[in-house]
Structure formats: C-alpha cells, structure tokens
Amino acid sequence: MQHIVIIGATSAMAEHCARLWVHASPVRLTLVGRDEARTQRVADDLRVRSPQSDVQVMTTDFVNAAAIAQTVNAIVARAPVDVVLIAHGALSDQATCQDDVLACDAALQVNGVSPVLFAEAFAKPMVAANHGTIAIIGSVAGDRGRKTNYVYGAAKGLVARYAQGMQHRLAHTNVKVVLIKPGPTDTPMTSDLKAKGQKMASVEQVAQDIVKGIAAGKPVVYTPGIWQIIMLVVMHLPRFVFNKLNI
C-alpha cells in the first residue's frame, strides 16, 4: 500500500484529495492536524469510505520547528513515505494583518514558514530513499502581491520560491516537488466570500486536479487550469495599469 501523508488534513481540499485516494485503492494514510477531534472525524469518514485503508491520526504544533521535526521523524519511522501533501493554511484578513503585527506574524508563520519546514523535514528521508513526491499547496495569490491580500500572498510566494529551489535541487533525483496553485475555491476557509456570492471553483474539482497533478509529478499545477492564463496576464500587467486596479 502507498503511504500518503497529509499535513493539515482537516482542510477541505486535503480532505477531498484523501477521499479520491482511498476511493482509487486502499492506502496507508497518516493525517496530521492541529485539532485531534476534528482530525479524527476526517479519519472516521475515510475509514467508512475505505475499510481496507489504514488511517492514522497525529497532531502537532504547526508553528513550532522542533515539533515539526519530531512529527516528521515519527511518521517516517512508521513507514517510508510515497506522497506528502502539505495543505494547511489560514486565509488571513489583510486589514487585520495591517493593523496588528502579531496577526501578520501568525499569518506568515502558518501559511509560509510552516509548510516550508514540513517540506524540508520530509525531503531529507525522501532524498535518502530517492523516492517520493512532496506536494505543497500554494496559491495564485502568491504570484503577484495585491493590496487586498498581500500578507497571505507573500507567505504563499515564499512557498512558491522555496518549491522552485527544491525542484532545481532535486531535478536529477526520483523525488518530485509539486507546487499547487488553486484559485478561489469553495471551502470553509472562503465561506465569507461564498456568503457574499463570489463564484468559486468546487473543492471536488480542485481536489481532482491536485490528485492528478501529484500522480503526474507536474512541477506546477494551477487549478482550475484557467488560472494559469489569468495569472499570466496579472503578472505581466505594467505597474501603471496594475496600480489602478481594485483587486
């Protein structure tokens, strides 16, 4: 059985990826979350969906480097890892981050530093085994800083630049690094946007793209695919045009 590890397993995207994985064939799953009870509920759901899968739950502090290192060591000791999906994050409120440096720090830690530390911790044993895929969920928000969410965007930009460097480093190995950049997706994290009526991609569709992208080992996965074109345009808008936009 494949051993798949999901960091931030209570995120709706991660949960739907897990559903697709257990549906395809029984897997060994390690779900890592912050909240034991919530992570356990995700595990129970997956066990009903796939009684043959082996689903384990672990909790850790996502913004503590020592705890991250310890957690990853424990997971790798359980079984060699085939895929790790690093999916945690929190859509931080830009206004709050501008107002409160502590909130800004928390947003940068959980969305930027923490995923990078997890990836780095998994890379060591995976490179040693010369096998596996490290997938990290970034965001289209990381492609160009915008006034409406640049703190979150900066954290995701950190993840993107890190993934790029890892891909360079591991180019000639059997370890793949996949950076996923979802557009706005209908998840609990964005329920405020949904309540305001914003159109968003379904989490099922995004999860399908992620699972496919990981299976193919694609370096960068935009989902839905249209965001690749949208962000290409956004990134190349000259500053005098961009600064007039209210986005």
Binding site: A12, H23, A37, R38, R41, V42, D44, D45, V48, R49, P51, P188, S191, K194, A195, K196, G197
Partner: protein
Amino acid sequence: MKAVSAWGRLSDDLHDVQVLTDRTQVTLVMAAHQPGLAFGNGRSYGDVGLNPQGHLWHTTGLNKLMSFDEATGHLVCEAGVLLRDIQRLFVPRGWMLPVTPGTQLITVGGAIANDVHGKNHHAVGSFGDHVLRLTLARTSGEVLQLDWSTAPELMSATVGGLGLTGVVVSAELQLRRVGSPWLQTETLPYQGLSEFFELADASERDWEHTVSWIDCLSGPSLRGIFMRGNHLSQAQAEARPSLRAALAAQQRKASGKALAMPFVPPVSLVNGLSLKPFNLAYYQLQKLKSGLDVAHYEPFFYPLDNLQHWNRMYGPRGFYQYQSVVPREGGEAAVQAMLDAISASGEGSFLAVLKTFGNREAKGLLSFPMPGVTLALDFPNRGERTLKLFERLDAIVREAGGRLYMAKDARMPRDLFEAGYPRLSEFIKHRDTGISSAMSRRLMEY
C-alpha cells in the same frame, strides 16, 4: 447577502448565508444567526427551503460519513451528505439507500425534512421509514439524540417536518442489500387511466419499482408509458456477460462531464408550440423500447441528473411543479378531472408522472405520501393563467380528500394545506421558534 433560488427559479431573493462545516459548531451558528432555516442542495421546487432577507444555514459542508456497520447496513452520516455519494460508495459494496426520489442530488437532511419517496413506495414506504436515529440541533442550543422509541413524537415531527423542528445534524440510516447495480425493467405503453390502474395493481406484488409517464395533452384517449423494475441479483447480473462492458461505460459517463443547460433561454422552451410534438415523439420512442430490458440504477432512477441545470429550460420566469395525491377511492375520477382541466387550459409539461402509492401511512406528521395515486406535473410560470389553472386543480384535490406535496409547492392556499394535513396541530407544538421559512410564514403562524 446572497441571491438564492429554489429549483423552480420563481424568485432570487437575497439571503444572509451561513455555511455549516463542523457538526460540533452547528448550535453556535444557529444561536448567533436566527431566525434561520437549513438549506441543503437546493432541489426543492418552491419556498420550503427559502427564507428571503433572513438567515440560511447551508448544510452541504456537513458531508462526513461517521460509521458503517457491514453486518446490519446501518450508516451514520452528517446531514449534508448527498444521496449520490452514498449510492456511488455503497452500491459496489452491495448496499443501497432503500428510498431515493427522482434525483440523487439532494442531501440526507433534505430527504428527511421532506420525507421523500421513490418508485418503490408500495414496497418500502418513504425515506423516513428507514431513518433509525437523528441528531437534531435546536436554536435553544440543545443537541438532541432522537430515535423512534425514546422520542417518537419529535421524530415524527422532524421526519417530513420541513426543517422547522431544528437542524438535522446527522442521521443513522438503514441501507438495504442489493446484488448488483442493475435492474430488470419492463416498459409498457398504455391507453387510458383504467389501464394504468390495472397495470399498477398487477405490478404491485411482483415489481419493486413502478412509475409512469403520461402525455398530459393527450385528452380523453390518455396515453402513457408504464415502467417497472426489479433489482438483479449478483447471480442474475453475472449471467449476463455484456453487463460488464456496460458497467464500465456507465462509470465513464458518471465520472465524465455531465451535459448542462448552459444558459437561461429568453422564453421557456416548454411551451404550446414545443409540447405536443415533444410528447408525441417521446411516446413513440418509448413505445419502440417497450418490453423487457436491463437498466443501470442511475439512468432508471435519476433520468434528469445527467442534464445539469435542466430547470433553466423553463426560461427566466421559472416554473411550478404541481404534485398532488388523492385517495384511491374516487382517485381515478379526480386524476381524470385534473388531466381534463390541464388539457383544456393548454398548459402543461413534458415531465408528467403518475404513480400509485402503497397502502401505508407515512411516519411523519406532515409527510406527503398516503394511500392513493400521485400526479406530478411541471408548468412554466405564465403568471396569472398558470395560477388560475392551479385553483381549478386545488378544487379537485380538496374535493377528493387529497393533498399537495410541500417540497414542490410555492403557492397552495392555507385552507388546502390545513385540509390536506390533518395532523398539523400536533406538529406545531414541536416547532423550533428560532426557525422560519417563506413557506412556514405563508402557511402557518410564523
């Protein structure tokens, strides 16, 4: 605020939407945003699921399965799980929901709140007959664990209770064994209502599923298509090697992109010009298919689920569905009178369904099914003239001692509601005072 429409697309009023995602947090959301109403996948037609300018608690984020017992077939799941997801997961494992309506794109909570029925009502009753236990959240902050032996009254108020007794957070359902995803089907053209009743009665004993399509414009020489089906056992399915390839094709179709009605046409595509030729063509096509066949459960049970947004077909003004049930005694005359009234009005639709219910009372105080015959028709909304026709149909239903289906209704008058649902006064006692819908305000005190 967000514009929300029901399936009939008769309105698109603004709602203050709260998204429920964590079953342990439901009472907190309810307490902070009330009065409100639970909203599932938006497949009910009228105003039963709407609360214009008020709070709407979306439940589709409550989509976790909680436990399944392979020995007993007891499934516990959150109320926002779609019936489709249960079917697709469990049919390959030899289990299935005992009751599903004509679409599987509804939530478990919606199926309970409307006590939905299927083509096998005469054999197994309605959805509520297979609900073993419920977790009900009330705006008071209480979370109640209900079952039929310890809380029979609140159970029967909640099953078919239109979401007005609380929010169903999770439910324990009894699944039934099924040997294969296939059904042995038989298609029989018929003429006239008495032939329909003969077929329905003759099929009741030996066929689990029965339904019929009628041409509502065919006048006195009524024509229709009677369809019946039985599940194939594993051995019967394996005896037909061609089904293996057919199953692969069905799975490709199910996982591929469904056809969709891409936009709302400026006028209803169902109209006086299109209806007659459409019905004639459909009748002739089905007639060609008459006889025995084998069908996968998805196209047999949910023929329209493959055309996304089919409700757009009726144009910008939306449509009504009028579904009534009348007792068998006098039922034939009542159905004939309704068909005559529809035919004379020139209104009517392609989606006309006639089915007999079994001789059993539903468990819910406001459940729709009762012994008798049910007729369901869609009508494009043409304003006053459509409503005038409904008044004529109402008179026939009232006279026959029947009732209308709340999950479809957007306009029934209060006296017809009260006459059709004699247990209303028992129900009222169990309402959650922090819950209100457009329908409850229209037909009850608040």
